[in-house]
């Protein structure tokens, strides 16, 4: 039996724990909006995890998101209703599909990691070749070693880091005073002996489900040895952290209460133990782990000394930045934003205190603290704010430049460089073949259904038995998100359908109940008078919302079109001064208004900031 409804209460399904929920797959169709999403979007929810494919610089990347976070981003921030089709399946089917998506996710990451490893190896070989040719070293060149950038350079400081001095003394006590020196000498000798592979295999043809093994080639081995040498040097000198490596703030949210101090002390002790063990680890990348661990240990000790949380600055060197102008444009939001990030920081600190001092909880705390402190810094300095969507992990690199190259090394290095360059090109081309985005044939819809089909060995009968039918996202018009959603309804065993409203939709319903339909319709028709919000900084210029009313849509569309044309004309005049920003906005507004003339709404507005508490407005627990 199929039931479709616009149901706030149904959203509670999303909030329910997967452990207790009946096994199901939920096909999510996200309505269109402007901003690179005018064709709509699709995703598959399995319990807490929502899988979807996104076009990232021409590659379709499979992403796994927390299901609540997905709804927050799309239904609240991007103001896009999500239509859900729930397909009841057996526990085996749910498990099978989940494992297939996980396998593809892992395989794709391994493909991208392999490309990054080849790129790094090519850069290293090019550097060595320059040295072999006698070219002068360039500033900052060397093997980039993650974690090494947090420490003062060798010989730059006479002060020792107390936590590392204690660790060094412990190592000397347990393994002898010459241990660190002898180990570093052995690593340097191994690095000198390391030779590139001039004629390596070209690499296999990629398969979406088969991961590539992590690279163990010349570049990876050289980087491992270099990381080990740098880590041992930092420990031998008990080098202090650089001044800009650590967030030092008097923010009240960083204050450590006695339970937090106890947990931190236990975490520091455990960290020091594990760092000692890393010196004997069989894993090849122990040097990087030791560098990051030592930097973390130093911040733990600093936190205990100061009575306030100290964490490493985990933003990457070339982080994206949010315009200071954008922050300044919404001053009324900022106290609330800071209030929420501060509350998250306090929560993360409390969770760390209750975590049994795990690395994972410390990493969560680092991430949350970095985001809060960066926001506060940017507001105080009125400067751009560094941002990163992915988890913030402290990996600031520094170059390892001790690269001695014998004069007769040029020919083999040149051969190895040519070989690795060819392998890199081939892998990039394979990646493009396998994961390249094509609007009509290889998009978020086609790949979602291809992965679903792969879970059933690409056998339509097997898939039909499990799901009630078969949808091929590459046939007919099924590559279009809303068409594929209709196909799911027709062909799969859909037990239930409901719509998660957008934030503006939910607010309008609540307002109508309180104030009456006519008054709300008049006031909320335009972003200039609306109290429901919904015009974000990213949105094009428009005069009327057309998402809530159908009949006036062409009229509103015509007025929006005129507004867009006006902004376009202004943009032409401003183009030499604002690099075409206004012009682009105007053209986008004009384009988004055209479908409205034919009763079709794409533009729905968006929000710059939605507190987690707003999830209640669409029926979700915050």
């Amino acid at each position: 039996m199929r039931r479709y409804r616009l149901a706030w209460a149904a959203c509670a399904l999303l909030a329910s724990s997967t452990a207790s929920a009946a096994p199901a797959l939920e096909f999510l169709h996200v309505e269109a909006n402007e901003g690179g999403s005018s064709g709509g979007h699709v995703a598959l929810r399995i319990g807490d995890a929502t899988y979807h494919f996104q076009n990232e610089a021409g590659l379709l990347r499979l992403a796994r998101e927390d299901s609540l976070r997905f709804v927050h981003d799309y239904a609240l921030l991007e103001n896009r209703p999500i239509h859900v089709r729930r397909i009841d399946v057996s526990p085996e089917t749910e498990q099978r599909v989940r494992e297939r998506f996980e396998a593809r996710l892992g395989a794709q990451r391994s493909h991208l990691d392999a490309l990054a490893a080849l790129r790094a190896e090519r850069e290293l070989l090019a550097l060595l070749l320059r040295r072999a040719r006698g070219e002068a070293p360039r500033a900052g060149e060397g093997i980039p070693i993650s974690g090494a950038g947090y420490f003062a350079p060798a010989g730059a400081s006479a002060v020792e880091e107390p936590a590392l001095a204690a660790l060094r003394a412990r190592v000397a006590r347990e393994r002898g005073a010459s241990f660190l020196d002898a180990r570093a000498k052995a690593l340097r000798a191994a690095l000198r002996r390391l030779e590139p592979e001039p004629d390596a295999e070209p690499g296999p043809r990629l398969d979406a489900d088969t991961p590539l093994p992590a690279s163990d080639g010349f570049g990876a081995r050289a980087a491992d040895l270099a990381a080990g040498i740098l880590a041992l040097g930092v420990l031998a000198d008990a080098r202090p952290l650089r001044g800009d490596a650590v967030w030092r703030s008097d923010d009240a949210a960083l204050a450590l209460d006695p339970p937090a101090r106890d947990t931190l002390r236990a975490f520091g002790d455990r960290l020091a133990d594990s760092l000692g063990r890393l010196l004997d680890a069989s894993r090849p990348d122990w040097g990087t782990a030791l560098l990051v661990g030592m930097a973390r240990l130093a911040t733990v000790e600093a936190s205990l000394r100061d009575g306030r949380l100290r964490v490493l600055d985990a933003f990457p060197e070339r982080a994206e930045a949010l315009d200071a102008e954008l922050l300044a444009r919404r001053p009324e939001l900022l106290p609330e934003v800071v209030g929420e990030t501060r509350a998250r920081l306090r929560l993360a600190l409390a969770e760390f205190a209750g975590s049994g001092s795990s690395q994972a909880a410390w990493s969560d705390l680092e991430d949350v603290a970095n985001r809060h402190l960066e926001l506060v810094r940017a507001l105080e300095a009125r400067s751009a704010m560094r941002v990163q969507r992915a988890r913030l992990v402290p990996l600031r690199p520094a170059p390892f430049a001790e690269l001695a190259v014998p004069p007769d090394a040029e020919p083999p290095l040149a051969r190895a460089l040519a070989s690795v360059s060819a392998r890199e090109r081939r892998l990039a081309s394979e990646l493009s073949r396998l994961h390249g985005y094509e609007l009509l044939t290889h998009n978020c819809v086609s790949e979602l259904f291809a992965t679903l089909a792969a879970a059933f060995d690409d056998d339509p009968e097997l898939a039909s038995a499990a799901l009630g039918g078969f949808v091929d996202g590459r046939r007919g018009l099924d590559f279009i998100p809303f068409v594929s959603a209709a196909s799911v309804s027709q062909r799969y065993r859909v037990a239930e359908g409901f719509t998660i409203p957008s934030l503006r939709q939910a607010r309008l319903v609540a307002m109508r109940e309180r104030e009456g339909a006519l008054r709300v319709a008049l006031r909320e028709a335009s972003p200039w008078t609306a109290r429901s919000g919904g015009q974000g900084a990213r949105d094009s210029f428009f005069l009327f919302f057309t998402d809530a009313s159908v009949w006036p849509r062409p009229l509103f569309g015509a007025l929006n079109l005129a507004a867009g044309a006006g902004e376009t004309a202004l943009g032409l005049l401003r183009a030499p001064f604002d690099r075409g920003r206004t012009l682009l906005h105007g053209l986008e507004g004009t384009l988004m208004s055209l479908p409205e003339l034919a009763f079709v709404n794409l533009r729905k507005g968006s929000y710059d900031w939605v507190p987690e508490s707003a999830r209640r407005e669409i029926g979700l627990a915050p």
């Binding site: 995890a49 981003d73 921030l77 996980e102 992915a390 998009n443 075409g580 384009l591 900031w609």
Partner: protein
């Protein structure tokens, strides 16, 4: 006088507009305050307590270990690959993380390995760390 710079800008703008028609584009992060200050995980607990925040990471470890268990492969490449997965999660020393060790065992179970084979493999992976191998075997025995 300004016509020259305007023309290429207009072309670029039109190209960007056509790109806008595409579905599935990466949801913009750099222009939303909300997305910028929000962590990409749901705060609830760390991996050692097995909370929701780490479901994705532990699934990835299980899946990676299952792939290794079923196809075989080089232990060094496995350690390096696992190091990358753990690094993205912010865990610098995965051998010291209890939940990671258990998830490795669970992944080998998923691959359908017999216990003797799993024990031998874990002994090789955790060379010199019998306590960690024992924890992974516990994960193997418990399953998912």
């Amino acid at each position: 006088m300004h016509a020259r710079p305007v023309r290429p800008i207009a072309c670029l703008a039109l190209a960007a507009l056509l790109a806008e028609l595409a579905a599935c584009s990466l949801s913009y992060s750099s222009e939303s305050i909300s997305k910028s200050v929000s962590s990409p995980f749901k705060s609830s607990s760390g991996s050692s307590s097995g909370g929701k925040a780490d479901a994705a990471y532990l699934d990835e470890v299980r899946s990676f270990a299952a792939g290794f268990g079923s196809s075989g492969g080089d232990a060094t490449a496995f350690r390096r690959g696992l190091g990358s997965i753990a690094e993205r999660r912010g865990i610098h020393d995965w051998e010291d993380d209890d939940a990671t060790c258990r998830a490795i065992g669970q992944g080998l179970k998923r691959a359908g390995l017999a216990q003797e084979k799993a024990q031998a493999l874990l002994g090789e992976l955790f060379a010199g760390r019998s306590d960690r191998a024992a924890l992974a075997i516990k994960g193997f025995d418990a399953g998912e």
